[in-house]
């Protein structure tokens, strides 16, 4: 694979990542959110695969497969199941309206670029050029977590954040050691499963999955 092609592919997938997460902040439909998440996972897997092919690194290809399986299929599936269980189709009235969310989004992106100056300075290249995307994903994820009231949205936010971290990991260093990657993914999976179970119970107990009703524990 030629360097130019590699560049284009990396930038393409990075673009897809960014686009999907912006859409995630934009749209309120939970169904769409799950689909976008799956798409994002696929894009991430593709990026990993591209790097793997480019560096002809089999382990990385295996990781790509793992990522595709986990983030492209399993997690979205789990997410959709619990969405169906809570019976919600869209996020009603988030704490921050869409317009201002998008404005904040742009600010966060700028911060992301500011933060990733060191890498761009360290070795300019397509992968490092895409690092800000990863960091922006982390920040977007956090934004979603803080502003969305529905349990599913929070899960989405958490996963976006996780995707961001993974992106940074692959772009900066071609992934952390395999053991760690494995463990980390497993952890994420378990967390999501736990949250799903808890979300289910909350739906039963509170008759809904809107988290701002969880304010019994306070001082």
């Amino acid at each position: 694979m030629s360097a130019s092609l590699f560049d284009q592919l990396i930038s393409l997938s990075a673009g897809v990542l960014l686009l999907t997460s912006v859409l995630l902040v934009w749209k309120r439909s939970l169904i769409a959110a799950v689909r976008l998440l799956a798409l994002q996972g696929a894009a991430l897997a593709a990026m990993v695969a591209v790097i793997g092919v480019f560096e002809s690194d089999l382990e990385l290809l295996a990781v790509a497969g793992l990522v595709l399986l986990l983030k492209g299929f399993v997690l979205p599936f789990v997410l959709d199941r619990s969405r169906v269980r809570t019976g919600a189709v869209r996020e009603e009235t988030p704490l921050m309206n869409t317009t201002s969310s998008l404005l904040v989004l742009s600010l966060l992106t700028m911060l992301a670029y500011l933060v990733s100056q060191p890498w761009l300075a360290l070795d300019p290249g397509p992968t490092t050029a895409a690092v800000p995307v990863g960091i922006s994903l982390v920040l977007y994820g956090f934004l979603i977590l803080t502003t969305r009231r529905h349990a599913i949205s929070q899960l989405v936010g958490f996963l976006v954040l996780d995707n961001g971290i993974a992106t940074v990991a692959f772009l900066t260093s071609g992934g952390v050691p395999f053991v760690v990657e494995l463990g980390a993914s497993l952890d994420v999976l378990l967390v999501v499963l736990i949250l799903r179970v808890l979300g289910g119970r909350i739906t039963d107990e509170f008759g809904g999955a809107y988290l701002d009703e969880l304010t019994e524990l306070r001082d």
């Binding site: 911060l111 500011l114 933060v115 920040l139 977590l145 304010t215 306070r218 001082d219």
Partner: protein, 665 residues
């Protein structure tokens, strides 16, 4: 193994014995056995103090887990002086306690705490480095709090008293910690030897001095940090209040001496002024409150804060004069400070033990319900009387000698050198004088109301003399008051040795001689003269008495007709009424008079109800608002954790953004 080391070890060993006895001996004999062991601790402490005071050396090193430098107990002469005081007070008070304690105050916990309390109390002056000092200091605080809590189940005020005490004593600990930490950083070491290397004119020294003095002052009950004192002393068992007031509070004075003489000698003049100001304020405020107080033990507590004030004033005068390089008056002032320490220890122990017997016999602390105890409890009456004379600084008691020395050193200040001194010294003299006058009034009131005339309440009427042990203890401490008043010379010598003072010594029959400022006082000679003058008077009286024996009559004259009921006597409240009017602004007493008219008449009065309550103005104006403010802060702070997960996530998000901004700048 030197004598001092032996003494220290003996105290530790005896403490183990005492705790074991307190825990394992059956309740019937517990007081006797454990009490005996505790007396042993105290005596061991006193003896160790004597060894150290007479120049003996010896150190006990305590190993520590943390690399904090050596932690050593090694009393020097000054420490020895205070060990003696603490030990003797502890011994007498415990002897008294053996007969006094009952109920929860006689429990395992209380006796063990008593042992630890005395141990810590005697180890504080022995500490030779900051960490062990703080350790003993806190142990002392903890043990005394436990003792204070003895009656928590029966009387509600105990809890609040303990809380006030705990908070203030922890405040003092915190201040000491900061102060010592400053010195440790500046002198590069937690040992007192290392700290003494810090130059007294450095900024660090001044910061440390202020911090430490504030810390010690709050332990010493100096106004405005005294608020715990009038609460804790009344609620504690009387023998404990005796130790607290006569020995523990003194550690605040020891600390002040430690800082200003041993650690940071030769400080600037304003250090002295600070101490004088603190001392003057608390002397006046304390004695004013004492002279209007009607609760006996509360009054004694306030008088403690007055006496400590005088000690701080004396020390401050000493520092001030030293900073002007005039040695002799300075040294006699410091000697006066130490004499005050000893004197106050003696008479305050006596007074608290006496108050304990009254409480024990009548169940009353309120002077307005006492009276006529002189006939019912002669020994207590005599002891308390002697103690009161001491507190009123009349000859021939320990209190008088100390105040005399203080006044002498004040008027011998060569104020001509400096206008500051020329203004400060007269004020100091005036303060001491007014304090002495009011003390006279306060203790005449206390003794006269409690012991003379007729009982004002059933409790007083049914009073009985207390048990043998208690009487012996009171006898010992009362006679100490007189002995110290008759023979101040040895004490003066000891003081001179403790703080190596020049121009202070003894003369004639154990008289005190401040030859540095050529003033001498020989109480024995004075007494002899007085007796010589009194003899003829007594003889004449005796002859007349033989000719005309005294005739007992029914009642005092009741303006014709009306038989005087005991309730017509002057009470403590009415006794202090003129004074509380004179000092209205300083005391702000709350009076309310309720007049009930007979029927329609505007002139015929059926009954008049008078009620007066003198609160602690410092507490009401400074502490209460502070506490309220803190509570408000607490209620407001609840909004931080209002349960919204989004808010919590926002905290984290903001933190993340902040960190990112910081690192990328």
């Amino acid at each position: 193994m030197t004598l001092v080391l032996g003494g220290l070890l003996a105290q530790l060993a005896l403490t183990c014995v005492a705790v074991a006895a307190a825990v394992f001996v059956v309740p019937k004999r517990r007081a006797l056995v454990a009490g005996a062991a505790v007396v042993g601790i105290a005596m061991a402490g006193a003896v160790t103090g004597v060894f150290a005071l007479s120049g003996g050396h010896g150190s006990l090193t305590v190993p520590m887990t943390l690399p904090l430098g050596p932690v050593v107990l090694a009393p020097d002469r000054l420490g020895g002086f205070f060990m003696v005081v603490a030990g003797l007070v502890g011994a007498v008070a415990t002897l008294y306690g053996i007969g006094y304690v009952r109920g929860p105050a006689a429990s395992r916990t209380s006796w063990s705490a008593m042992a630890l309390f005395l141990l810590a109390l005697q180890m504080v002056p022995a500490a030779a480095d900051a960490v062990s000092f703080l350790l003993c200091w806190e142990l002392m605080a903890v043990a005394s709090t436990v003792l204070l809590l003895a009656d928590h189940a029966r009387r509600a005020p105990v809890r609040s008293a303990a809380l006030w005490y705990a908070a203030m004593t922890h405040f003092s600990f915190v201040m000491l910690l900061l102060g010592f930490a400053v010195l440790a950083a500046a002198g590069d070491g937690t040992g007192f030897a290392a700290m003494a290397r810090v130059p007294a004119d450095s900024g660090a020294a001044s910061v440390a001095f202020v911090l430490l003095i504030v810390g010690f002052a709050s332990k010493a009950g100096i106004v405005p940090l005294h608020v715990w004192l009038p609460r804790a002393h009344p609620e504690a068992p009387s023998h404990v209040s005796a130790v607290m007031s006569a020995a523990m509070v003194k550690m605040g004075v020891y600390g002040a001496l430690l800082v200003s003489i041993r650690l940071l000698p030769g400080g600037p003049a304003w250090w002295g002024l600070l101490l004088i100001a603190l001392g003057a304020v608390s002397a006046l405020y304390g004695i004013l409150q004492a002279s209007v107080a009607t609760d006996l033990k509360r009054m004694l507590a306030y008088s403690t804060s007055e006496n400590i004030g005088l000690m701080y004033l004396a020390l401050g005068a000493g520092l001030l004069l030293r900073s002007y390089g005039v040695t002799e008056p300075a040294d006699s002032a410091i000697a006066a400070c130490l004499l005050l320490v000893v004197g106050h220890a003696a008479f305050k122990t006596t007074l608290f033990l006496g108050a304990g017997s009254i409480l024990h016999a009548t169940g009353e602390r309120d002077l307005d319900r006492l009276g006529g105890l002189g006939a019912r409890m002669p020994v207590t009456s005599a002891a308390f009387g002697i103690g009161a004379l001491g507190a009123a600084a009349l000859p021939i008691t320990s209190g008088f000698v100390a105040e005399w020395a203080l006044l002498q050193s004040l008027i011998h200040a060569p104020a001509t050198q400096d206008r500051l001194v020329a203004v400060v010294m007269p004020v100091a003299v005036a303060v001491v004088a007014l304090t002495a006058g009011l003390a006279l009034m306060a203790f005449v009131k206390a003794y006269g109301i409690a012991f003379l005339a007729r009982p004002r309440g059933e409790g007083a009427a049914a009073a009985h003399e207390s048990g043998l042990g208690m009487r012996v203890a009171m006898g010992i401490s009362a006679s100490t008051v007189v002995v110290l008043g008759l023979a101040p010379g040895p004490v003066a010598r000891a003081a001179a040795a403790a703080a190596d003072l020049s121009g202070v010594g003894a003369v004639g029959w154990w008289g005190i001689d401040l030859f540095g400022i050529d003033a001498l006082l020989d109480p024995v000679a004075l007494t002899v003269l007085a007796v010589a003058l009194a003899v003829p008077v007594v003889l004449v009286s005796a002859r007349l008495a033989r000719r005309q024996p005294r005739r007992r009559v029914d009642l005092t004259w009741g303006c014709g007709g009306v038989r005087l009921s005991p309730r017509m006597q002057y009470t403590a409240t009415s006794y202090a009424e003129p004074l509380s009017r004179v000092f209205d602004d300083a005391l702000r007493p709350e009076r309310d008079v309720l007049v009930t008219h007979a029927g329609e008449s505007r002139y015929l009065v059926e009954r008049v109800q008078f009620q007066q309550n003198v609160g602690d103005i410092v507490e009401t104006t400074a502490y209460r608002p502070g506490i309220r403010w803190m509570d408000r802060v607490g209620v407001l702070a609840r909004h931080l954790q209002n349960g919204s997960i989004h808010r919590y996530l926002a905290y984290a998000f903001v933190a993340l953004l902040a960190v990112l901004v910081v690192v990328s700048l």
